[in-house]
Symmetry: C2
Subunit: 350 residues, 2 copies
Amino acid sequence: MKVALDAMGGDHAPQINITGAIEALRDFPKLTHLYLVGEETALQKECAAQGLDLKNPRVSIVHAAEVIGMAEPGAKSVRRKKQSSISIAMDMVKEGTADAFVSAGNTGAAVAAATIKLRCLKGIDRAGIASPLPNEHGICNILDAGANPEAKPEHLVAYAVMGTAFARHVLGVAEPRVGLMSNGEEEEKGTTFTKETFKRLKDTPGINFIGNVEGHDLFETKLDIVLCDGFVGNIVLKSVEATAKAVSKWLKTEIKETPLRMAGAVLAQGAFKALKAKSSYETYGGSPLLGVNGVVIIAHGSSTGLAVRNAIRVAVETVEHKINPRIEEAMAELPSCAPVEMVKKALHID
Amino acid sequence: MKVALDAMGGDHAPQINITGAIEALRDFPKLTHLYLVGEETALQKECAAQGLDLKNPRVSIVHAAEVIGMAEPGAKSVRRKKQSSISIAMDMVKEGTADAFVSAGNTGAAVAAATIKLRCLKGIDRAGIASPLPNEHGICNILDAGANPEAKPEHLVAYAVMGTAFARHVLGVAEPRVGLMSNGEEEEKGTTFTKETFKRLKDTPGINFIGNVEGHDLFETKLDIVLCDGFVGNIVLKSVEATAKAVSKWLKTEIKETPLRMAGAVLAQGAFKALKAKSSYETYGGSPLLGVNGVVIIAHGSSTGLAVRNAIRVAVETVEHKINPRIEEAMAELPSCAPVEMVKKALHID
């Protein structure tokens, strides 16, 4: 079980990656080797500062001379910067040197590198990011959270199959429930795109499709996968995170208004800490990029050490449960519905 | 200043509407008459129960024999139920008996009735709902929050103009800032739809377009109007509300875990109340449907009496500032860019 970590990825790299590496090596015995991929001198310095002993046989630095910045255009940077930490680490997964790749860096670049180097699984056209949100009944994954902004209905059908495999085999949910994000619960609500997707999902075998879902379902309904295109998924995910942050910030401001409120908050602080642990992305740490021929885990750009540690945990669990062959099997079992055949059917061509 | 209230609208009608009516009549002297439109016997009974004196010359019941349910299909119900409270109240605005319409009922039906009966303003193809969210610098309006799920770029340009007029003249913002909801801040981020919209917004005179915005901007950035299609807007609005509700519910659950936390929460309760007042939709109460030839205010389906009161306040303020002629003027000043002309240009036809 070998993981390649993009040690230069994230708003606070490399510091958070080394912190996360130390915690992962301590907490996950199944992790036999962790490759820290990035600028060698910078990483040696940070390891020394945080006390990560590079003589430990379970960890090593793989030098990468370039870094793809957080705001650089994804696909272009991957093609231009062959020596970037993302490119080199992805090559290690391609060649089998590593079993999984973890990055808190530029998401667009990680998705592009994965798609270019690892290619999609058999039967899959587009990869999708499954991002976890806390839900009263477990974890609800938004799929796709941003890999494929202009998705087609057939992509969402494939996401339903991939999400079901991930929730069942990695998260241990016996019968994963799949919903379609829409602007109303009734079947007739939505756009041309969601209505067409709804029809296809109803006819897709092997998934448990519960119909259209809305905002409140993300948190209150027993729901494992929420399907949407990457544009909507990215916006929903960021809006949810921003709301939780704003509520917490405004409550803090109000508490600081009087000494009495501050005293009360000190007494109740256990509740605030428990809420933070439940609702923070740090607890979940990583979002698998489903559909590529390898294990790729995307972590939040503003990841902390704890978030990186947990992204490595998701990588270990995903490698362990080998879902990619299962996704390929499930896709092969779907009734053939290739676009060419649909056009022929629509035009009455035999 | 006469307002027609859909007294049968909302999850808790007619009770909340009568409560809201009592508070509005008490608090807004500019409101010269309030028409309670709905089933006469039910309304008389509720008025008696809550002590609203129907001998008051500022209030009267207008009988409507039918009600459009919250889950009924919008446009269809309006055509079928000619005697519904929504249809009759909208007719009153059309005929000039009332200056504005307020409803916490079926949003789809209210939008359909407004579009069918009042028609769109000159230069406007599609109406849009401007829904307010609390922002650190004021109020940020999501436009469109659900009237027009499959919008075209030209609709969003018109929303930018209408939103600017509303924020300037009704909300009193001198230079309203307009953002475009996208999956990244850079100009090249987004879909074909948002990229085309971005280009047109850059060239639209009379608006202050600040570029693409994301979830965190809703709360942290000085921003008055966030443009999106009605599908995305509706999902964002519901997701934001659901997140705030989930955070508050989970915090309550954690507080109830120990007596110490509960004691702390009692001491800090002023902070919770202040946060609720700042963040609740009840405080804002109503979302104007911009673009129709009349004043129509949409209130939340789960409105309380306070929310209805505040929706009536928004109606009074919107009527007072007469923004519709200003919207028509602004639209007339836009450089002509009708679809037919664009096609001709693209095909090099003179």
